[in-house]
C-alpha cells in the first residue's frame, strides 16, 4: 500500500520550499501597532478556534496582553483594510477573547538570573513594567522603584477602573513578582547617584507625565478647582473627592473624558465638558466620547473658561466662545476667541484636564527638552548621563499604554546591548510593509460581513459603579468576528517564474480579479490585493504559484501524513478522511467533535478553506487506504460566494479517475453545509453508511475470491 519512500520522491512544492523565507507582507494592522504584534496571525488562530495558540502568539509580542485587551487605543483597527469593505475587524475585542478564553491568568512565567549587573527602574508605569519584564527574561536582576503605595503608574492612578479592572493589573504584577522582579513601593528616587552607589549598573527612568498643565487664568487656584490627573489619582487610590452636584471638565483628551465619566460615577448629577475646539479635533477616543454622551455627560464645544470666581461655595466661570482658524503645525485648526462672547456658567467644581507633562527631579541631572520631557537618543534611548536610559510618557509626553509598553521593551533591549557592550542594533525590517488600498473591483467581490461590536453595559447601569463596562465576546461571536480578517499580505505569489507558462489560468479563476498582465506580457499577482483564497495555487497547471505564508503551503500535506500515521497506529479499519474547512462547522462549529475523534474511523484534515484542497490530495487520501473521502466547506459563512465551483470540478476530475481504477466514485463526496434542506450531520451519516456498505461489499468479494 502507501509507502513512504514514494513520498520522498514526490516533488511537492512543500519540500522544495522548506528553506523558504517568509514572503508575507507586513499588514497595516501590524505596522500600526506600537508593539508590532502579529495581529493577522492571532486573529486567524481565533477564527480557527485555536485560542490557546492565539494566546501564545499574543504573548510572544506583548508583555501584558490582558492590559492591552482593555485599554489599547486600537491604532490597528484604524489601519485595518477591512474598513474599505465595511468596518474594521474588532481586534481589541478579539485579543480580549483570546486572553480570557485562552486563560492568560493561568500562564506562568519563568526567568533565570544570567548576569550579575543589576538594573534599576524608576517608575512602575507600563513602560517600567514592560522593561522589567523583558530585562528579567533576558536574565538581569531588576528592581522597580515606585513613589506611590501601589504599582502601575498611570495604569493604577490614571485609568479609571471601569476601563481597566484592577485584578488584571494585579495579575500582571504578580507575574512580575513570580519571575523575581523586586518591587519597592513608597520609594521615591531623588538621586540617581545613590542608585549607582547601590551598585545598579543601568537605570531606566520612566516616571510618566503626571504633572497637569495650568491654564494660566484668574482664579485657577480657587478651592473647588482640581486638575484632572490629581482628581483621577485620588479616586483611583480610593479617596472620594466631593464635587458637589455639578462639575465642568475643561479639555478634550482622554483624561478629560475619563475625569468626566469618573465624576458621573461618583454621583455628580450634571457633568459638562468644555472643549475649545469642535468634536472633529477632539483627541479623545471617539468610542469613549460616544459612551460619555450615552452616560448623560454634556459636551460644549468651541468654548473655554477665561476666569474663575468663587462665591458662596460655587464657581462662576466666565466662558469665551471660540471659532476655528487656520490649522497649526500639527494639522488641527486653531481656536480663536470671539470678541464679546462671554457668558457666565455656575458649577460646584471644575476639573482642568488640558494636558500633562513629566516632572523630572532636577537632581537626576538629565537633559530636559521641549514640554519638560527627558531628551534621549531615539535609537539607544540613552540620556546625557551614561548608563541612564529613559522612556514612556516622560520622554514622549502623554501617550498611550501600548506605546509605553513598546518603549519599555525597546529600553530592555538597549539596556541589554549597553550592559553586554554591544553596538545597539535596531531590529531591521526585512519584510515589505503593505500600504496600498484595495482596488474597487477587489472590494466589490469581498463578501460584506458586519462587524460584531462587543457588548457594553447599558448607560444607566454602568454609571452606578466602576465595574468594567465592556463585555467580552462569546465563542461564536469571536469566531465570526475573527473570520472577517482579510489576511492582508499573505496572498499567492508566482514563486517559480521560469515555470509560469503564462496560461492565464490564475487570471481567469481569481474571484477577486487580482492577477493581471503587465505591459511586458507577464502575469503579476499584486500581493497587496490578493485575498489568499488559494484557488489559483490549486489550479495552476504549472504549479508555479504558492502562498506566501510558508506554514500554509505545507499544511494539507503534513496534516494528511499525520492522519495516515494516526490511522495506522490505531489500526482502525475502515477509515474515512474528511478535508474540512477549519473555519466552518467542522473546525469551530457543531461538528467540531468529529475533529476530536468523536466518530471512530473518521479522520479530519483541517483545511483553511476547501479551495486549497488539490486533486492530488484527494487521490493521496485514497492511496493511503481511505475507504471514503469527503470535503466539507464552511457554507454560508464563506468569505466568497462561489468557492465550491472549482472544488466541485476537482472532485469530478478525481471521480473520473476513481471510476477508471475501479473505485466507486460515490466514495468521494463534497458537502456545503447550509445549502441543502438536509441537516449536514444527517447527510454525513448517510455517506458514512454508504461507504461502509461499499467496504463490506468489497470484503465479501475478496472472501469469495479467496
Amino acid at each position: 500500500m502507501y509507502s513512504s519512500s514514494n513520498t520522498e520522491k514526490r516533488n511537492y512544492p512543500a519540500n522544495r520550499s522548506e528553506k523558504r523565507p517568509d514572503h508575507t507582507l507586513i499588514p497595516p494592522c501590524q505596522a500600526a501597532c506600537p508593539l508590532h504584534m502579529d495581529i493577522r496571525e492571532y486573529v486567524d488562530l481565533v477564527a480557527q478556534g485555536r485560542v490557546m495558540e492565539a494566546l501564545q502568539s499574543i504573548r510572544s509580542g506583548n508583555p501584558f496582553p490582558s492590559i492591552c485587551a482593555y485599554v489599547c487605543t486600537r491604532p490597528c483597527e484604524e489601519a485595518c483594510r477591512r474598513s474599505q469593505v465595511d468596518k474594521p475587524v474588532a481586534i481589541r475585542a478579539l485579543k480580549r477573547f483570546a486572553v480570557e478564553f485562552g486563560g492568560d491568568r493561568m500562564v506562568q512565567a519563568e526567568a533565570e538570573t544570567m548576569y550579575p549587573d543589576k538594573v534599576a527602574i524608576v517608575g512602575s508605569g507600563p513602560a517600567g513594567l514592560a522593561c522589567a519584564y523583558y530585562l528579567r527574561l533576558l536574565g538581569y536582576p531588576v528592581t522597580i522603584f515606585e513613589a506611590h503605595t501601589e504599582v502601575g503608574g498611570m495604569l493604577r492612578v490614571g485609568i479609571p477602573q471601569y476601563r481597566l479592572p484592577r485584578e488584571v493589573l494585579d495579575t500582571e504584577v504578580r507575574r512580575l513578582n513570580q519571575i523575581g522582579v523586586e518591587i519597592r513601593t513608597n520609594t521615591r528616587v531623588v538621586s540617581l547617584d545613590l542608585l549607582f552607589e547601590l551598585n545598579y549598573k543601568a537605570i531606566f527612568i520612566t516616571i510618566g507625565a503626571h504633572q497637569s498643565l495650568r491654564m494660566g487664568i484668574d482664579g485657577e487656584d480657587s478651592p473647588g478647582v482640581i486638575d484632572g490627573a490629581t482628581f483621577l489619582r485620588e479616586v483611583n487610590l480610593g479617596l472620594k473627592p466631593s464635587l458637589g452636584d455639578s462639575v465642568a471638565v475643561v479639555g478634550g483628551g482622554n483624561v478629560a473624558i475619563d475625569a468626566a465619566r469618573t465624576a458621573a460615577r461618583l454621583g455628580v448629577k450634571r457633568v459638562y465638558i468644555l472643549y475649545r475646539r469642535s468634536r472633529k479635533e477632539m483627541p479623545a477616543d471617539p468610542t469613549e466620547v460616544e459612551q460619555a454622551l450615552e452616560e448623560g455627560i454634556k459636551i460644549r464645544y468651541l468654548i473655554t473658561p477665561a476666569s474663575i470666581v468663587r462665591k458662596d461655595g460655587q464657581l462662576y466661570l466666565t466662558c469665551v466662545k471660540m471659532k476655528l482658524g487656520k490649522p497649526d503645525t500639527g494639522g488641527r485648526r486653531q481656536p480663536i476667541p470671539i470678541r464679546d462672547s462671554e457668558t457666565v456658567k455656575k458649577v460646584a467644581s471644575l476639573i482642568i484636564a488640558t494636558g500633562q507633562a513629566p516632572q523630572t527631579p532636577r537632581d537626576f541631572g538629565v537633559r530636559i527638552g521641549r514640554g519638560s520631557t527627558i531628551q534621549v537618543d531615539p535609537i539607544t534611548l540613552t540620556t546625557n548621563r551614561s548608563g541612564v536610559f529613559a522612556g514612556g510618557d516622560a520622554v514622549t509626553g502623554p501617550a498611550t499604554v501600548t506605546e509605553a509598553l513598546a518603549a519599555g521593551r525597546m529600553a530592555a533591549n538597549r539596556i541589554d546591548d549597553y550592559l553586554q557592550h554591544r553596538y545597539p542594533m535596531p531590529t531591521k525590517q526585512e519584510r515589505e510593509t503593505l500600504t496600498s488600498e484595495l482596488r474597487p473591483e477587489t472590494v466589490e467581490m469581498i463578501r460584506k460581513i458586519g462587524r460584531i461590536e462587543p457588548q457594553v453595559l447599558p448607560a444607566e447601569t454602568r454609571t452606578k459603579d466602576f465595574k468594567p463596562i465592556e463585555l467580552g465576546y462569546g465563542w461564536e461571536e469571536a469566531i465570526n468576528e475573527a473570520r472577517r480578517c482579510l489576511r492582508c499580505g499573505m496572498g499567492a505569489e508566482i514563486l517559480f517564474q521560469d515555470k509560469c507558462a503564462t496560461c492565464l489560468t490564475c487570471l481567469r479563476v481569481c474571484p477577486y480579479h487580482v492577477p493581471y498582465l503587465d505591459d511586458s506580457g507577464a502575469v503579476k499577482i499584486p500581493p497587496d490585493q490578493c485575498q489568499a483564497c488559494g484557488i489559483c495555487v490549486a489550479e495552476c497547471p504549472a504549479k508555479a504559484i504558492v502562498l506566501r505564508n510558508p506554514r500554509e503551503i505545507r499544511h494539507i500535506t503534513e496534516e494528511l501524513d499525520h492522519v495516515y500515521k494516526s490511522a495506522a497506529e490505531t489500526k482502525s479499519k475502515p477509515f474515512i478522511v474528511g478535508f474540512c474547512c477549519q473555519y466552518g462547522l467542522f473546525g469551530t462549529g457543531t461538528l467540531s467533535s468529529l475533529w476530536r475523534g468523536a466518530k471512530a474511523g473518521v479522520w479530519i484534515v483541517p483545511v483553511l478553506c476547501i479551495a486549497k484542497v488539490e486533486t492530488e490530495h484527494l487521490l493521496r487520501a485514497f492511496e493511503m487506504g481511505a475507504e471514503g473521502v469527503f470535503i466539507a466547506g464552511c457554507g454560508e459563512q464563506c468569505a466568497r460566494e462561489n468557492t465550491t465551483l472549482q472544488v466541485t470540478q476537482r472532485v469530478e476530475k478525481v471521480q473520473k479517475v476513481l471510476t477508471a481504477i475501479g473505485i466507486e466514485p460515490e466514495r468521494l463526496k463534497i458537502f456545503v453545509p447550509g445549502t441543502g434542506d438536509i441537516d449536514t450531520a444527517e447527510e454525513l451519516n448517510e455517506v458514512f453508511e454508504q461507504i461502509s456498505g461499499f467496504y463490506l461489499e468489497s470484503l465479501i468479494k475478496q472472501e469469495a475470491k479467496d
Partner: protein, 227 residues
Amino acid sequence: MIVAEQKPLEEIMRMIAPYENVLILGCGTCMTVCNAGGEREVSFLHNALRLAQAKSEDMTHSFTESTLKRQCDPEFLEQLPERTNDVDAVLSLGCGIGVQAVAERLTDLPVLPGVNTSFMGMTKETGIWDERCAACGECRLDDTAGICPITRCTKGILNGPCAGTKNGKCEANKEMDCAWVLIYKRLERLQQLEKIRRYYPLRNFRTIPRPKRITSNTGIEAGTSDG
C-alpha cells in the same frame, strides 16, 4: 498553441504495463497551457497510477516525475539522460512532437505518448479550446476575412457556402456556425464582399510533401562571411 488531451487512464495503464520504472515527463509549454501535461497533470497522473497500483495490489511499478520547459528543443532535453538512468520507459505528456523529440534523444528507451495531440487552437474560456488552424501551408485568411474555412467548415471547402447551410448553421452540426456565412458577414462588414466571388481551384494535395522543413537562416555557413 498545440492542444491535446490526456489519454484515458486505462490506456495509459495498458501502455506502461510491461515496464517497471516509468518516468512521467511533462512539458512546460503548450501542454501546460491546455491542461494536458503540465507539472500538475504529471503529479496528478503519478498519484492516479499509484492509487491504481495500490487498488490492484500489484506493486510492480515505480514512478518518477519530471517536467521540462519544452520537450521539442534539444537544449531542454540535455538533462534527460541523467534523469533516466534507472528508467525502463518514459511516459511523455508532451504533444506528438515532444514524444518524438524525446525518443530521438533517448535512443535506447521506449517513449510512450501520454496525450492525444488534437489540434492547433485557441482558448475559448477556461478549460475549453477550439481548433483554428490546420497548418495547410497555404494561408488564404486575407481572402476569407480572417476566418479559416479549412478548419472551421466541417467539409473544409474552399468555395462556400455549400447547400447545407441553414439559418447560418451547419447541416452537420446544428449548434455550429457555418464558417462561410461567418466569412460572408465579416467581408460585408469590411466592405470586401467582392472577395466572396473569387473562385479557388481544387486544392492540390501533391504540393504538400511530408515531412516539411522550414529553414529561416539564409544558408550562409559559419566562417564564410566577412569579419
